[in-house]
Amino acid sequence: MLNNLIQELPEFFTYYNILFLLQALLTTFLLSALGCIVGSVLGFALAVGRNATGKMSYLLRIPLATFTEIFRRVPFLVTLMLVFFVFQILDFKLSMFSVALVTVCLIGTAFISEIVRSGFESVHQNQWDAAFAMNFSYLQALRFVIIPQAWKVILPPIFSFFILFIKDTALASQIGVLELTYAGKVMNNKGFSATLVFGTILIMYFMLSYPLARFGQRLEKRLATTGNR
């Protein structure tokens, strides 16, 4: 067993195989990073909308809350399939990467809007009241009072969500996006030993995710709030 593995090693780690795997790793990273960036922007807008106050604001709040709840409660795989088939019957000619990207953005938006909303909630109600008493508008209060205090609470969970996404995008291999897991399947189908291939894939995921996770922990410690009211 071990002898076979050692014999296979030089055949497996050829220049082109390593290049292939690294490109797949880059795809995984891009998929989760783009999803997180788009998700942050849209999720932020969504959270601002969901927090709106005023007479007719429920027209905005209810659909946005429904969107968030739906995409937080459907598994990644099912959302992926749904997006894939919807684009198919709408006759869009999208690459598999774009389909996965759309899915990742949808889910990212839903999850991050929830993170941002709870970040806003972490700022005490008195701060809102004080801002409104100073005749700030809703957006001004957000811009000058709430966000400067809330971003420390918002940033670490967004970062850990990004790391979660690196792992979740493994499911995109199911529709044939050439990311790390799919690359592993391809190598396995070429006849390399599954132990070697999937062991390498696991280690590559670990090497991508672990430093980011450690960085996230440090970020969380550095930004730890004093909870000022």
């Binding site: 067993m1 709840e69 739906i70 409660r73 459907v74 598994p75 990644f76 795989l77 099912v78 959302t79 399939m81 749904l82 088939f85 919807v86 198919q88 019957i89 709408l90 790391i163 690196i166 792992k167 979740d168 493994a170 499911l171 291999s173 199911q174 897991t181 592993g184 399947k185 396995n188 030993s193 599954a194 132990t195 999937f198 062991g199 894939i201 696991l202 995921y205 670990f206 995710s209 672990y210 996770a213």
Partner: protein
């Protein structure tokens, strides 16, 4: 583009059966993961440095690699050393090991939330060791741990959908089955998504009620 939900609606009971299997898988993996996590968290809190770093390695490895690839490894790589498993066993073992890492982390945080002064206070009140565990530590820990644990259970219920990739007939797997029979893909996956939303919503509300009225945890009902 036209949708025909009527073609798929008569498969609804079949899908609901799949949802039941999904919940079963999630429950089994969660129970196993709780045990693993309890051992891990205890070792981390009370263990020797060697045991602690072993647990840290386990948690670090399983939290930083995708569950899907872990199950791939168990399902495709372990047969090379002579450990053959059915897809069901592979998925269950993979999910349990993965859940163990996350649940160990959650439980460790719960353990460290107990303050030494609580124990000292209990001692001052004349509680025996067992009494102080029974009346002081356990109620406190459950109250702190229940919300993140129930959250993790919901996430794991969603995570069971990846069992479909290994051919298990749970909710997503059955959706794939119907899809290959009828090709009404959008309708099927919409209904599947609806069922997922419904079961996780019901589970959230039920767990929040248990947490609020039995363990006095701070949880929102909706």
């Amino acid at each position: 583009m036209d949708l025909h939900f009527s073609d798929v609606l008569d498969k609804f009971p079949y899908l609901l059966g799949g949802a039941w299997i999904s919940l079963q898988i999630a429950f089994l993996a969660f129970t196993g993961g709780m045990l693993l996590g309890l051992i891990g968290a205890s070792l981390q809190t009370f263990g020797r440095p060697l045991a602690r770093s072993c647990v840290n390695a386990y948690i670090g490895f399983f939290m930083n690699t995708p569950q899907l690839v872990q199950i791939y490894f168990i399902f495709f790589a372990l047969p090379e050393v002579g450990i053959l498993m059915s897809p069901y066993e592979a998925v269950l073992i993979g999910m349990t090991l993965n859940a163990g890492a996350y649940l160990a982390e959650i439980q460790r945080a719960g353990f460290s939330s107990v303050h030494i002064t609580e124990l000292e206070a209990a001692e001052t009140m004349g509680f025996s060791r067992i009494q102080s565990i029974r009346y002081v530590i356990v109620p406190h820990i459950i109250k702190v741990l229940f919300p993140p644990l129930s959250n993790q259970f919901i996430l794991m219920t969603l995570g069971t959908s990846m069992a479909a990739i290994f051919g298990l007939e749970e909710l997503t797997g059955r959706a794939f089955n119907i899809n290959s029979e009828t090709f009404r893909s959008v309708e099927i996956f919409t209904i599947t998504a609806g069922i997922y939303i419904a079961i996780t919503f019901l589970a959230t509300v039920a767990l929040a009620m248990v947490g609020r009225y039995i363990f006095r945890a701070k949880m929102r009902l909706i």
